[in-house]
Amino acid sequence: MSQTWASRVILSLTLLFLIGPFFIIIFAGLSAGSTLSFPPDGLSLKWYLAVFSVESFRQSFMLSMLLAVFGTLTALLLGVPAAYAICRYKIPGAETIKLIVAAPIIVPGIIVGLALLRYLVVPLNFTVTLALFLAHTALVLPYAVRVVTATLENLRTDIEEAAILLGCTRLQAFTKAVLPNIKSGILAAFILGFVTSFNQVPVSLFLSGPGVRTLPIDMLAYMEITYDPSVAALSALLAFLSIAIVFIAEKTLGFSRYV
């Protein structure tokens, strides 16, 4: 009896520390006053509405959205065949490939961003948007490969062999037998990649130009000049968006297996 009690206390405290702050953001954004404070000075929705009228937030939201969607799609386009090759063929140096693919996770993002700026944007005249796209693709790639590899490892190889015996080419066997079976893994990889890309800051830190900024960078910049609750409101909205995505993914895919 006392043990379950202790366990409850420990878990509640941990969750309070991990999740409590979000409730605070939600309420801080509801403030009617013009500076950030808690408890808020009166309640109003004005800051939640104000978020939508800030032009730069709209622009950077669109950019982040596009980067997250297309960066993740490109990463999957590269990552799915890579994962397939790593799993099915005994290619020489598979371990090395795994290591290289994992490198962006180990190498601090800020350095990747700096390297891109110094060696691609400045000397080769790449546009910032293109560099951002490359950076986000590279960032998501490890997740794509890892999640899809994990799914492929659980898939039996005989269904492909059966498909080939029944007259499919290798490619057809892949598209008709393998792909439908790893669909949920790919979807999970997409969601994980999307969220990672959308939220990521360090890589994009140096990669911003006039009018070209990802949303988190824009929020950081906004925070430096003003102290009003709009960033709290925006944070809360984004948190709701993430929660909704993860909740739906969890219900339909059992998403937490893949993380």
Binding site: I10, T14, L18, S37, P39, P108, I110, S235, V259
Partner: protein, 245 residues
């Protein structure tokens, strides 16, 4: 990515060791380096202590509750770090909860400065990376034979002995994995030290940003970049050894 990596090294590589000697001779750089190391280690330590307690409780829950708990633990990972860090401004700021409570209760006459202190950065990093540790510990505890603890108890071990002799050795891999993730995360976090530490409590990442964007000092930037990569890789290698030893 390989080209990128070598290029990142080249930034500092163009300069011989003289640049490094110069870098180390500046007290600010040393302070920042040791602060980053210290905060990283502290975050790992505290998240391991809390992580063990939380993971142990979660593993012992009934399956349905366990899944829900696990979902709640990974939830914060999916939310923008900017939002997660921003919450601490609301909590610790001049007109935040803590100060309003302290002043309201008459404990303190004026708001206390919490933001831009090491404590603030520490709390922010801890909140950001603790879930990684908890997840790593949960998965290694799930692989632990259930009766090991009961057996040790029957044989007369107290809880401290159970932890050091049974749980710790059996979950070492999880601890090492979690530790690596948390340490590298804390080392390479930019947002948290930027928002909660500002220019008062610089960490290697924020120092790097300043060197590039404020003083255009690419030599220092390259050196910091190299230090960060070496620390990050070093932590990975050392901890992986520990897991196998």
């Amino acid at each position: 990515m390989a080209i990128l990596l070598s290029e990142a090294f080249k930034v500092g590589g163009e300069w011989s060791l003289a640049g490094y000697a110069d870098f180390i001779s500046k007290p600010l750089n040393r302070t920042v380096f040791f602060r980053t190391l210290k905060l990283g280690a502290l975050v790992v330590l505290v998240s391991a202590v809390v992580g063990y307690a939380a993971a142990f409780c979660i593993v012992n829950l009934e399956p349905a509750k366990r899944g829900r708990m696990f979902g709640l633990i990974i939830l914060p990972l999916m939310i923008s770090p900017v939002a997660r860090t921003y919450a601490w401004i609301v909590i610790l700021g001049r007109t935040g909860i803590v100060n309003n409570t302290l002043v309201g209760l008459g404990i303190s006459d004026t708001p206390i400065r919490f933001l831009f202190t090491e404590t603030a950065v520490f709390l922010g990093l801890l909140q950001l990376f603790m879930p990684l540790m908890i997840i790593a510990l949960i998965s290694s505890m799930e692989n632990m034979p259930k009766d090991a603890i009961a057996a040790a108890r029957v044989l007369g071990a107290n809880w401290f002995q159970v932890f050091t002799r049974v749980i710790l050795p059996l979950t070492r891999e999880g601890l090492v994995l979690g530790g690596t993730l948390v340490f590298t995360g804390a080392l390479t976090a930019y947002i948290t030290p930027a928002i909660l530490g500002g220019s008062k409590v610089l960490m290697l990442e924020t120092l790097l940003y300043q060197r590039v964007n404020v003083s255009n000092d690419y030599v220092s930037a390259g050196i910091i970049a190299t230090i960060l990569i070496v620390m990050s890789f070093g932590a990975n290698v050392v901890l992986r050894r520990l897991a196998k030893a």
